[in-house]
């Protein structure tokens, strides 16, 4: 009857996700304390991206949502990335 074919995420899974997230948090802190020059931003953002992926997929149940919504969420990030990139076409060539 109810059409949200709800997936129930077990407590255990959630707990494990938290551990992963914590691990990555410490990873960023320790990575950025070394000086990897211009790579640090990239690494920091990459790690933040991975963390974001876990939050979106498990905490926000995106993994179990329909394909459409998953595509839409992806598109938002792509759109934002495009906007930033295009703005940089101006700023990096001045």
């Amino acid at each position: 009857m109810s059409n949200n074919s709800s997936h129930i995420t077990e407590y255990k899974v959630l707990g494990r996700i938290l551990l992963i997230l914590m691990f990555f948090t410490f990873a960023t802190i320790s990575v950025t304390s070394f000086n990897l020059a211009s790579f640090t931003v990239t690494v920091a953002l990459l790690i933040a991206g991975i963390k974001g992926y876990f939050v979106l997929s498990y905490f926000m149940h995106l993994k179990y949502e329909n394909l459409l919504l998953r595509i839409l969420v992806g598109m938002i990030f792509v759109l934002f990335a495009l906007i930033v990139l295009i703005t940089f076409i101006d700023y990096s060539y001045r």
Binding site: I83, I86, T87, I89, D90, Y93, R94
Partner: protein
Amino acid sequence: MSNEVNKIEYVSYLEHQGRFKGLKSWIFATDHKRIALLYMYAIAAFFFIGALLGLLMRFELIAPGETIMKAQTYNGLFTVHGVIMIFMVVIPGLSAVFGNFFLPILIGAKDVAFPRLNLFSWWIFVFGSVLAVASQFLKSGPPDTGWTFYAPYSTTTGTSVIIATTAAFILGFSSILTGLNFLVTVHQMRAPGMKFFNMPLFPWAIYATAWIQLLATPIVGITLLMLIAERLFGIGFFDPNLGGDPVLFQHLFWIYSHPAVYIMILPAMGVITEIVPTFCQRKVYGYKAIALSSLAIAGVGFLVWGHHMYTSGMSENARWFFSLLTFIVAVPSAIKVFNWISTMYKGSIDLKPPFLFALAFIFLFIIGGTTGLILGSVATNIQVHDTSFIVAHFHYIIFGGMGFAFFAAIHYWLPKMYGRLYNFRRANIACIIMFIGFNTLYFPQFVIGIQGMPRRYFDYLPQFQTGHMISTIGGVILIFGLFYMLINLIKGARKGPKAPANPWNGSTLEWQIPSPPSLENFDEPFEVKANPYDYK
């Protein structure tokens, strides 16, 4: 009562008795049709105010020198004129009025997904609008920045910029909520069995528009918030004195405001796409091409904002990039025009008022659109940027495009909305007068623009006087047409002859239900057809 369970008696939404009576039954209505009318009345009122300000500007410009007002007043006028017209008239315009009324009907739903949110959006809209109009009368004087609020002028001028930007922020919120509501409606409320490609094209246009509303508006929201914070707390973002970068403001502003112009025009194109087939008695030509071109415009439209900034000192690479994309986004518009005209081929054309307005729309839109190409090309933009050529371009495409589409829509759907007909001959005459007035008003501005008449000029060099004078005369003609049309419409809506359910022999879903519709639109079950233009 008990033996009437299966037989629902027809009561039009205009007469339906809900929880409230009188005025309250309107301003607290959650019925999408009543909300649509609420929007229409509010927008018409603001349109009237905005247009009056426009006319005052025209009288000021009839001759060089100070004619009827001071420079400061003039600067306030075009700002408030721009803010009212953009944020309060054309951005909500078609989607909030006709989208609200006909989107649910055309997809076979009884209302939008969140009726109460819908009402809430209207209230926010009214609140924001009142604030915007109030900024005109506050002690520190009307805001004088232009509707673009460019920093650092806007962060330093002494006028009530904060109120105006707050108003724009609130209006943006209303726009987001409307867009959100329509998106969910289209995704969740389609009649069972109706697929996306079984929807008529007006819902498609509204759907594409709603995406822009949802995704672009937050950016201007945050930009205006930053501006407000800069003025209130001296947080530096855009004012070079506080460390900021004024050009970045322009980027952020246009990241929203360019897509916003497609918020204005997409529903207008949707309306035309409904009207043309009906009065040609043909199925629309190139259904898929039109549907997909709406999405293409919405998508690519996000990436061309920089064409408003060619002279701002952007890098050369950015200039060619934006120019190229601007030209590419013009193509889907061209596709639509070609499909409309092909729909007329071998049709059986009935020159009723909605169709006449639609023809005027196509003509004016071509002029507005192709002058957009002049602007999109970097070399020519250098000459006409910030001149009255721009003013002419966007009045052609906004007023000539979206405005005439609005008029077409009201003439098309008024019989359904009020259940009455207006006088066709008078409506046609009004259309012709407005068409003439419109061209007289704005065409000269192209000419003086190329010759170098800057915009936002309170006073000007004598060589531009002829152009300005013709233009003002055109404004007066236009007003006569507008009033003539308005009176005819009001008379029709109140006392006109009763309209049948399907006065135009139309083939979309809304003509299958009585005029005016009942509260829940569909009292009788209907069958979903594969082709949305097959309901007859």
